[in-house]
């Protein structure tokens, strides 16, 4: 350790209480930033996964233009060919076929416009949470002839219970009138009111018969092992899709394209988070500036003596900067350790948000949330604190450069 570093370190501990308080402030800011960022990333992942698990999946193959128009004639004519591609795609863990038709669904009393979805019951259970969220009755069996699953709000609106009949009236793929009578087999609660109010699931086979689909489907839905695996899987599938007959162009869409609102919501949240972090950093910066200015003003006389003895202003600046850097480093290191420890603890245990469960449910979020500690969320906050404290320390350090020994000596 050089003389300068030794002096800086000793200077710091001339006023242990102030140093410890400043270190604590820096550490607390780091801890807060680490935890908040991890929390944000964790809740985004939860939001995306919740939305992905209940309807869209990570990746879908559809007819080109289906996402915009959702016309029943825009089909994937040969779903098996797409299935072969998905089976080979890297990162894709499960896939299933789905068909959708917006139809009138009516009970004895009421009629509503509802999205009727044809699903493959067994494969659907691997892709979405549908099977797990059945709250009454039972799940569909493969090839179920007339069973239907519906959301609890739709069931309430239609005033039907288990075993009751509902009539579906829609338009088939060939333009003919599609009509069928279904029996309510299961009622589910996804937690997303919009979904629970406006969708009804039947078996894909039943859908095919009713809507004259002739083997075609509307969506091939896939889930990947993790969110990070999606881009690679999408590129692979998109490349392979061009090899299929060009008469019916197909496209691969990821969850962001399927739910554009979700990412926008995340971006808005991100920005409000950033404003908060900025304010936090500002507070930290001012408290550190205060500490440094204090420590310099009370040592003016001392600086004057040092200069009179021949110490160059540059060396003094270096000394002061070393002091501030050491102070910040200690604070950031402590904050990093504490922040990671706290975040890691809650990542393991989760945080129950019992009071806000209604709001969370609207977004389809579980009421136990888990922060997500990553390299980025752990280092971004401390790095920002480090940068801003260094900048703050520059001001008093540069002030010393312009100090004349005479003035400093007479400074009280």
């Amino acid at each position: 350790m050089s003389v300068d570093a030794k002096m800086a370190w000793r200077n710091l501990w001339r006023n242990p209480r102030r140093t410890i308080l400043t270190v604590a402030a820096i550490a607390f800011a780091c801890l807060l930033l680490i935890f908040m960022l991890s929390w944000q990333f964790g809740s985004y992942e939860a939001m995306i996964n919740a939305a992905v698990k209940i309807h869209t999946g990570h990746l879908q193959v559809q007819a080109k233009g289906y996402q915009e128009k959702q016309s029943i004639r825009q089909v994937v004519p040969d779903p098996q060919a797409v299935a072969k591609i998905l089976a080979k795609a890297p990162g894709v863990s499960h896939y299933t076929f789905r068909s959708d038709a917006f139809s009138l669904v009516s009970s004895k009393q009421r009629t509503y416009g509802v999205l009727v979805v044809g699903i493959e019951p067994e494969k659907e259970a691997q892709v979405s949470t549908l099977k797990k969220i059945i709250s009454r009755g039972s799940y569909l069996l493969a090839g179920d002839k007339n069973g239907a699953l519906l959301g609890h709000l739709l069931a309430k609106n239609l005033q039907v219970g288990l075993g009751d009949e509902v009539t579906v009236l829609g338009q088939g793929r060939d333009g003919s009138i599609a009509a069928t009578v279904l029996k309510v087999k299961g009622i589910y609660r996804s937690g997303m009111d919009q979904f629970d109010r406006s969708s009804l699931q039947i078996s894909l086979q039943n859908f095919d018969d009713t809507y004259t689909m002739m083997g075609a489907v509307h969506e091939v839905v896939a889930v990947c092992r993790s969110l990070d695996a999606v881009p690679q899987a999408k590129d692979f599938v998109a490349a392979k899709l061009t090899g299929l007959p060009p008469k019916h162009p197909l496209v691969a869409l990821d969850w962001d394209q399927l739910m554009p609102g979700l990412l926008q919501g995340i971006k808005i949240d991100m920005i409000s988070g950033l404003i908060f972090y900025f304010l936090l950093l500002l507070v930290v910066a001012f408290s550190i500036l205060n500490t440094f200015l204090m420590s310099i003003f009370e040592r003016m006389h001392e600086f004057g003596v040092l200069m009179a003895l021949g110490t160059t202003p540059g060396r003094l600046t270096k000394l002061v900067l070393l002091e501030s850097t050491a102070l910040t480093m200690v604070g950031v290191a402590a904050g990093l350790v504490l922040g990671c420890a706290v975040t890691w603890y809650f990542q393991d245990q989760g945080i129950a948000l019992t009071g806000a469960s209604d709001i969370l449910r609207q977004y389809g979020l579980p009421h136990r949330m888990y922060p997500q500690l990553s390299l980025l969320s752990a280092l971004l906050g401390p790095a920002a604190v480090l940068a801003i404290t260094f900048l703050t320390a520059l001001y008093p350090a540069l002030k010393i450069r312009r100090l004349s020994p005479l003035k400093a000596l007479s400074y009280v």
């Binding site: 917006f102 009138l104 416009g113 009236l169 338009q171 060939d174 009138i177 009578v181």
Partner: protein, 253 residues
Amino acid sequence: MPKRLLNIPLVILTLFLALAGRAQAQDAQAVVQGAFDYMRDKASVCLAEMTIHRPDWQRTMTLKAWTKGQTDSIFYILSPPKDEGNGTLKKDREMWMYNPKVNRVIKLPPSMMSQAWMGSDFSNNDLSKTDSLIKDYNHSLMGTETAGGKKVYVIKSMPKPQAPVIWGMQKLKIREDHLFIYQGFFDEDLKLVKELDFLDIKMMGGKLYPTNWKMKKAGAKDSYTVVFYKELEFKPTLPDSLFTLEALKNPRR
């Protein structure tokens, strides 16, 4: 959700069927009223073909329809065989549909009224609110043209402030002998959404009548819906019992 929705096809045609005295209309309001009365009748029976055309797809249906007064109509699909017997009843602003396969009558909810019928370019609102053109709009004369040696009034129809309509404006062309020849539908920004041409004016049911109605969406190439009248007969009246839910469930041919 821009999904296609079932609804009623022929009410629009049948609604308009009419006999009327020759109005000596001068102002726009009277011209529209006159054309409307001419289209309508006390009652009518017709047989029509509806063809939905898309670039890659086409479908034709045959329909039989009865209308009475200003608001009541009932119709059935005769072909294709798969859809035979599907019926629709419209009274005032309410609509019911009947499907023989499931043997059920379904009442159409109000939220479905702006949906297209069977993938056609006609919507439920086109069908159920046609007489709202008289009740819900203020008409003004934009000018006159000549077509086929006859004078044609060009009329701008703006919705009244409180009117429950979805269009921002309609543009009508009405020939001096009370025949509609064009109807354009505009949104709130006064952008053309779709247009209806009344073509092939012939003697039918005892008077001149456009027998070919072509509705096309603005900006959509090669996509349109055509209604072609095969038979049309005007009657002094039809029994009320024809326009009931019971009658809808027990179709007669």
